[in-house]
């Protein structure tokens, strides 16, 4: 049994909220540079130049990459031999988010009730996904999710007979409808299988994969490649102004499902698809 205090967890979450908002992950930076090298549309090129300059400025001045500093989505993989001391784990995460957003001058974007809509003032509460795993470490990932892209996400319960053609139609329809709203070039996370909520969670986790990664299963890696090409053929381009690069990456995560179902969820990520992680 290893003890980890709630103070340590709170401070770590606070730091990750700021890191994720100030520092564009290196793999995304690389993907943006690569896109800038391939893009032939002058308007699209100008947008990519802006995004690269923006990321450099945000890094050097510790400014948020985007004013929508997001709803804090926190993934916690808790080793089963970890004992959290000094308070409740979820309170620590919540306090960490409040501390990170307040001291980092990050925008509070959360309303306490979806209909009454009063800003909570410190960007709490976060959305927390916990998993108990082997070992005695705590793995924390903070992924601030902006809603320009989150709003463009979609779920569909396909019939198994629709297969990859159905997935393809759904993906293209969703990306086309999103157009310029999610700040393209986007990162696309797709969850396949499981149940409705499992597919949604997989789609969000898919956004956190390294941008160059492809699925270990060859039929899914093929599908990723095919869908990415089809999305880029839509011509939406950087900023939605037209161009060759609409998506920087597309990742699929799959799960066993029911004999009657083929759930598919597309979680849209903006050009930054921010996240930061740490092990305690």
């Amino acid at each position: 049994m290893r003890e980890i205090s709630v103070d340590l967890i709170r401070d770590c979450v606070a730091r990750l909220c700021q890191e994720a908002n100030f520092l564009l992950p290196p793999d995304i930076m690389e993907a943006l540079r690569d896109a800038a090298g391939r893009e032939t549309s002058p308007a699209g090129q100008a947008v990519l130049d802006d995004l690269l300059e923006n990321a450099a400025l945000a890094r050097s001045r510790r400014m948020p990459i985007c004013q929508d500093t997001g709803m804090a989505v926190v993934f916690a993989e808790i080793g089963q031999d970890v004992h959290v001391t000094g308070g409740w784990f979820e309170d620590a995460i919540r306090q960490g988010v409040a501390q990170g957003y307040t001291t980092g001058y990050l925008r509070p974007s959360i309303v306490s009730d979806p209909l009454l809509r009063r800003n909570t003032g410190d960007n709490t509460p976060p959305v927390i996904h916990t998993r108990i795993v082997p070992g005695d470490q705590l793995h924390l990932t903070v992924a601030p999710k902006g809603f320009g892209s989150e709003n463009m996400s979609a779920a569909r319960m396909l019939s198994p007979s629709e297969g990859t053609d159905g997935i393809r139609r759904f993906v293209l329809e969703t990306v086309e409808k999103a157009g310029s709203n999610p700040c393209p070039p986007v990162v696309i996370g797709i969850g396949l299988g499981g149940t409705l909520e499992k597919a949604a969670l997989l789609a969000k986790q898919a956004l956190l994969l390294p941008s160059q990664a492809s699925n270990e299963q060859s039929h899914l890696a093929e599908l990723e490649k095919d869908l990415l090409q089809a999305v880029n053929d839509l011509g939406i381009g950087p900023g939605g102004l037209g161009g060759k690069v609409t998506a920087l990456a597309l990742h699929i995560l799959a799960w066993p499902t029911h004999i009657a179902g083929l759930p598919v969820v597309l979680n849209m990520g903006c050009h930054a698809t921010r996240h930061a992680e740490a092990y305690l």
Binding site: S41, P42, A43, G44, A46, V47, D50, L51, E53, N54, L57, A58, R61, M63, P64, I65, C66, Q67, D68, T69, Y105, L106, R107, P108, S109, R117, N119, G121, G148, N151, G179, S180, N181, C183, A230, D233, L234, G235, I236, G237, G239, G240, L241, G242, G243, K244, C270, H271, A272
Partner: protein, 185 residues
Amino acid sequence: MERRQIQLPLSEQAVRSLKAGELLALSGPLYTARDAAHKRLTETLQQGLPLTVDLQGQTIYYAGPCPAPPGQVIGSVGPTTSGRMDAYTPLLLQHGLRVMIGKGQRSPDVIAAIQSYGAVYLGATGGAGALLARHVRSSEVIAYPDLGPEAIRRLVVVDFPVIVLIDTKGSNLYLSGPAQYRRDR
């Protein structure tokens, strides 16, 4: 690329000279307003009351900035998705709003209102909030301070980079741009 220098507020004549796809550098005052502020502005107009902010001939930037760190004018301040303001926009255009800055497509109703009232829809690069903040010289909350990041602010900007998305004739860069790069398989 060369940007055309534009002084805000824009005259009706100047608005009519803008063409979809043109790159502009804006200097002068503009007002930030997003979801909650639009709802209040609309409720005020529907009650037949005067607005706390005179929008006649003015510019609205769909944005909710980050708080300004000590010594800074403003935090990151990029555009939010304009489509969420579509339900409120025709009424504001009818009451004199002339220029909108945001990102993302507009509804057919908004595009029709842009044409009939001689307005223009401009785009700032979505996701470039840190870069855009550098072009803001001053910022003050002038209405609805209780809305926090959604309050209406008056910003004075210098060489604020935008592109014309939908012009007074209804030409739409979001249609013409992607059409050139679309590859049907």
